[in-house]
């Protein structure tokens, strides 16, 4: 058992384990920037990060990043370019894994980052897609991270900004012309939800230390399926925690 850690640190560690060695990772913002850095420092030394601002990197930036466009992320880049060039790689199916932040997700992995309520007069106007829809549609597989609350994991999202498996019917993505494979995990503050091979409905695969299956089910806005083999999420290792704290020394992303 390693030392104490925050829910965000656990989410970063879990997200980093989704990165395979050699992957081209469309990194996105916030916690995934740290997840990329952790993976590069441990099990995925050959991974490359692609940033929609127009950057490709191998080594993680050597100073704190508030955004992907911060100067430390540019110095030492493998490629500084225009956004459409980064999108070109994704459009060709050459991005193995993408990360997307979500505000709402449903059981089929459809994400909403646009409108809560009627788009013509929304209850909440969220910031929008950014590159989220592009990643959801074009990357080979993707992962989302969010706080686990019933108002976020909902029966039906008000608006599908970034499609997962649509209505959940077999072959929905292919029938609708979506290039990439779809979501493989929803990493939350309470556990990890995964999807069956080929897509469909999310199920609870692991519960974070200190939480119970019943609690996770109660905090989910639909009747959550639980895997027969549901396990406890592995806590961050000492080396994962050390890497997280190296790249987020003030806890800007992981301790606030």
């Amino acid at each position: 058992m390693s030392e104490e850690f925050t829910p965000q640190e656990l989410m970063v560690a879990v997200a980093s384990r989704e990165i395979r060695d050699g992957d081209v990772v469309f990194v996105g913002m916030r916690l995934p920037i740290l997840a990329y850095a952790v993976a590069r420092n441990s099990h995925a030394p050959q991974a490359r990060g692609l940033f929609e601002v127009g950057l490709m990197r191998d080594q993680p930036a050597s100073a704190f990043l508030g955004t992907m466009g911060d100067p430390p992320n540019v110095a030492g880049a493998l490629w500084a370019t225009r956004m459409s060039n980064a999108m070109a790689l994704m459009a060709q199916g050459e991005v193995d894994l993408g990360f997307i932040g979500g505000a709402e997700v449903d059981r089929f992995g459809n994400l909403n980052t646009s409108y809560v309520g009627d788009p013509r007069r929304p209850k909440v106007k969220l910031p929008g897609s950014g590159g989220g829809a592009d990643i959801a549609i074009l990357s080979r597989r993707w992962v989302t991270l969010m706080s686990h609350e019933p108002r976020r994991l909902v029966e039906k999202v008000s608006f599908v900004t970034s499609p997962g498996y649509g209505d959940g019917s077999p072959g929905w993505r292919k029938r609708n012309g979506l290039l990439g494979g779809g979501p493989v995990a929803i990493i939350t503050t309470l556990g990890v939800l995964r999807f069956p091979e080929g897509g469909g409905e999310a199920y609870l695969a692991s519960v974070h230390p200190g939480h119970a299956v019943d609690e996770v089910v109660a905090q989910t806005g639909w009747p959550l399926q639980v895997s027969d083999r549901v396990s406890e999420t592995s806590a961050p290792t000492d080396s994962e925690l050390a890497a997280i704290r190296l790249f987020d020394p003030e806890g800007f992303w992981t301790r606030s």
Partner: protein, 290 residues
């Protein structure tokens, strides 16, 4: 800057801003637009960090055509929310895009075609709400978006409009080529011998550039490679204070309305703490020919 905005950003203009994404955001130009009380603007951009939010809160904007409006390190954009949810300070029309599709909309305008096809946005509800997007033969057609003016901050430019920018460029090139004209603000105003020594680094054809404004620090609080770090604390302060209309108004007075220009603004921030001091110049390219 005041002259450039007065002349090239009239009421009702379609204005592309923040087209390099997180870096090089022309905040000084945006603040001058607010001071001159421009109205009925359409803002075009990918992600704007907090500049779009400020222009919306100040009542300058009737429509946003963008992929994302928020505060990159802090999350939600509070003025944008109030405009969409409560029509405060006025109603706002939103044409949602993704980052890829807004890039394509600008490339379509740059190449003078009505639209460009793409595989992105298939299966997204963005197709339902934005009339500029349609599905044809299993592809999405993205209609051209043509800004009247693109405003771009760069590291250096000469007085004839040859701008050098480095680092990631986001959608700067397509925004500039699509726009009727371009307004440049720059950290350094340099001699043409500097810009012309490296023509590959010149961002736009000089024929498109209508004005060059020497505006050091004109992108604060966004970063400028080789010049300034991003001011994260400033973004956090803005996010906190803009939660209420009163808080936003007080912020707007303190940082925009009661500040005559960017020179005065910079005296109120700790610019020295943000200035990049350890330089990493690239190796010059050789343009020799005989």
């Amino acid at each position: 800057m005041a002259q450039a905005i007065e002349r090239f950003v009239p009421d009702g203009s379609t204005v592309a801003l923040g087209v390099a994404l997180e870096p090089l955001i022309p905040f000084a130009a945006g603040h001058e637009i607010i001071r001159q009380q421009r109205r009925n603007l359409e803002l075009v951009g990918p992600i704007s960090d907090s500049l779009f939010d400020q222009l919306i809160g100040a009542g300058c904007v009737r429509r946003v055509t963008a992929a994302w409006v928020g505060n990159v390190s802090e999350g939600l954009a509070h003025c944008y929310r109030r405009a969409c949810e409560q029509e405060v300070p006025r109603a706002l029309e939103v044409r949602d895009h993704s980052n890829f599709s807004i890039s394509l909309a600008l490339w379509a305008a740059a190449w003078n075609v009505p639209s460009l096809p793409t595989r992105t946005l298939l299966g997204s509800d963005i197709l339902r709400t934005n009339p500029d997007l349609s599905t044809v033969d299993d592809l999405v057609e993205v209609k051209a978006v043509r800004p009247d003016v693109a405003i771009v901050h760069v590291q250096r430019a000469d007085e004839l409009g040859r701008a050098h920018a480095w680092g990631p460029l986001g959608i700067s090139e397509e925004a500039g080529l699509a726009a009727g004209r371009i307004v440049i603000s720059c950290e350094e105003l340099v001699d043409a011998s500097v810009t012309l020594s490296d023509p590959n680094r010149i961002l736009f054809p000089e024929t498109k550039v209508a004005a060059v404004v020497h505006e050091p620090g004109g992108a604060h609080p966004s970063p400028v490679q080789g010049f300034f770090k991003r001011d994260h604390a400033f973004h956090r302060d803005y996010a906190d204070r803009s939660r209420t209309v009163e808080g936003f108004d007080a912020w707007l007075h303190e940082w925009v309305l009661d500040v005559p220009d960017r020179g005065e603004y910079l005296k109120r921030v700790d610019a020295e703490a943000l200035r990049i001091k350890q330089h990493r110049p690239s190796v010059p390219s050789d343009f020799g020919y005989e």
